[in-house]
Symmetry: none
Subunit: 216 residues, 4 copies
DNA sequence: AATGAATGAGTTTTCATTCAT
DNA sequence: TATGAATGAAAACTCATTCAT
């Protein structure tokens, strides 16, 4: 039965916590429930993670870690720039769609002004690889004359994330405002298609033709 | 003295509640604190709004109402399409930047699966005017040959919102991930500039040149 | 029935807390029990006193206050010095004997390094009157040539307290060490008699005869 | 390595427990912390001492044992009575000053109504030697005509202890009440000096002169 | 023998809500 | 009406003790 296995217990707690936090946010989550989900006592949770706060940090870090690992699997080095961007965009969108916990946890964390994440040292390093990949794609595309040259990588990455994240995180209120169900698979595909158009529409080098924006 | 002035009390409570909910989210907000902020007794709050839930709904509706009024002030009917889009984009971004309560309340509501907003009948009607304005601009621009013709208005509006909202709502975690302070005025201007580029980059009619995306 | 009477509730809580803290010390006392003793809910205790700590401070201050009031009733201004000292000594001893809560609370507070009492501003002023009374008696007695002249008032007062307080506070362990029951009325009278002898034996002016101590 | 050395483990636990109990009293002490201080597992503590209670008894007995050994080193048989009393007084005071654990443990024990110490059989015998020494000094001094004749040995011994113990055990609250720092070396010397004066002042045979107390 | 994982009963604390005044 | 005293149910957290390994 694998009792008295600390590592196993911690994994179970972490998983249960991820689910509970995702269902109810930080304030709404119940330590008791996490315990029963994980089939351990409340005491064990405090033994392993110190506090509800500590557990939240652990869950949050694990989710960022996973996002990162997931990003690591994304091979775009030897792609055509366009295909690379498309893959990155799709991959990002799908990660959020398939890991709704991530969004809720991150929103909760922002509600709390990022106080937990600030403590995490590793976060800053974690995003370098994906940032570098994107930066490389943008540079290559620009050299090939197919991408505009003035793209600010950070803002652009934030935009790729924003276009998917916001749609998913705000599905409930958007559903009311636009009186439609945004939870079908079709809608997700549609949304991704739209995002791809925006992302590539922005990148497309229209320097030869009259741009809509006055050059600054 | 303003005693026995029910309307005045309600306004005070609403304002205090907006601040408290914005500071702490729904679950984190304290009825007690709202009372003391508004200088009324807790009993009064229950008298006027029935429950914490009821108060939250009232605050949320008021904020959407304001957004809508604010959108109403936006005159873009007789604009050039490009300028109209720019104004709408800037206006939307600035509303969020200047009303951080809105974002936190809406995030809280999404955390609760939109259960409060669903009850609101007026919401659906509220966004018609701004939707219609945007739709008109897109149509006009397309007729003038300067905008692409295949824009899905709803998704496009969601994107305009997303690019600003996400940046603002996730400033804390983004700040950690990119190790930078995202709370300066400069950064906001920069971000708006970037959003404008994306929005117009997407709209720009590049049908004559080779599009980056294969036509579907 | 006097319900909804805040002051009354606070008094009841304070009394119940005094008893509970005295029975078990700070760490051993149970907020739950204080509530049921006082016939109020636990919530009410927190409403009135903020925390277990806050309640402890209130109880402690009240007890010092009472000691002080009790000292105030002690009229010794127009006494002969000897009688004044005897009265003060007896009064101090009896206060401790009749208010065993005081001793336990003060011991608990010392265990916690005085962290609660430190916050109390009034404490310092509180003891001035009794100190002044004692000082006056010592001075008068010295002028009359019946008391020694070199008495350090503070140390002397501490000694008067010590001789009674220690006996009472350590009755259990002393009882084991000396294999006797120290809880009878007789023993208390005997102890007080002994303390009086010590206190006055010390004060007695033996300057004309050979003192046991070399003059410094 | 000292593995599997039961006696060594017990010594370590005892020392760690003494420190922990002294820092926080019985109720405030944590078995966990004692374990980590002693670098043994919690299980080991239960193995060696059965329970927290059992450990407390062991610590308490050890401390009384040490006090007794310390008293045993005190050679006063061939002293002048006055010097003998001075040595005993100073020795007692210094033991308490140098072993603050003793005071806190004994106070804790009194808070618990001496339930642990009662079980100890040896306690009663332990104090006979120092009692006998004191009794001998008092008798000799009385015979030499320098001490009063009516001294009750037990009460007198309790007083010698009280004058030092109380000052040390209540230093925190006394410090607040008299608004002064009672933790310096100077203050300790001053206090001991004062105690010596009281003790000898009381003993001094003033039968030739008018006593302050009416003979009973 | 020795560890430390695991527990559960108990503790302080919180807070939306009710209701006597 | 309006207040704020009072509650109770549930929350986070603690800790001596047990027991599988």
């Amino acid at each position: 039965m694998a009792k008295r296995d600390r590592a196993r217990s911690e994994r179970n707690i972490l998983k249960a916590a991820r689910m509970e936090f995702a269902k109810s946010g930080y304030a709404g989550a119940r330590v008791e429930k996490i315990g029963s989900r994980a089939k351990v006592s409340k005491g064990m949770i405090y033994h392993c993670f110190g506090s509800k706060d500590g557990l939240f940090v652990a869950v949050l870090e694990e989710l960022y870690q996973r996002l990162n690992e997931s990003n690591g699997e994304l091979v775009i080095n030897d792609c055509e720039p366009v295909e690379g961007i498309q893959r990155l965009t799709a991959h990002t969108f799908r990660y959020f769609a398939e890991n709704p916990e991530f969004i809720i946890l991150v929103n909760s964390e922002n509600l709390m002004k990022g106080k937990h994440l600030k403590k995490s040292k590793t976060m800053r390093e974690m995003f370098r690889p994906v940032y570098d990949k994107l930066d490389y794609l943008l540079k290559t595309g620009a050299e090939q004359g197919i991408f505009r040259k003035d793209v600010e990588t950070t803002h652009f990455y934030i935009s790729i994330v924003a276009l998917g994240y916001f749609f998913l995180s705000n599905r409930y209120t958007l559903g009311v405002v636009f009186d439609s169900d945004l939870f079908s698979e079709d809608i997700l595909d549609q949304r991704l298609q739209h995002i791809q158009e925006i992302v590539l529409g922005y990148l497309s080098n229209s320097s030869d033709q009259t741009s809509l924006l006055p050059s600054v």
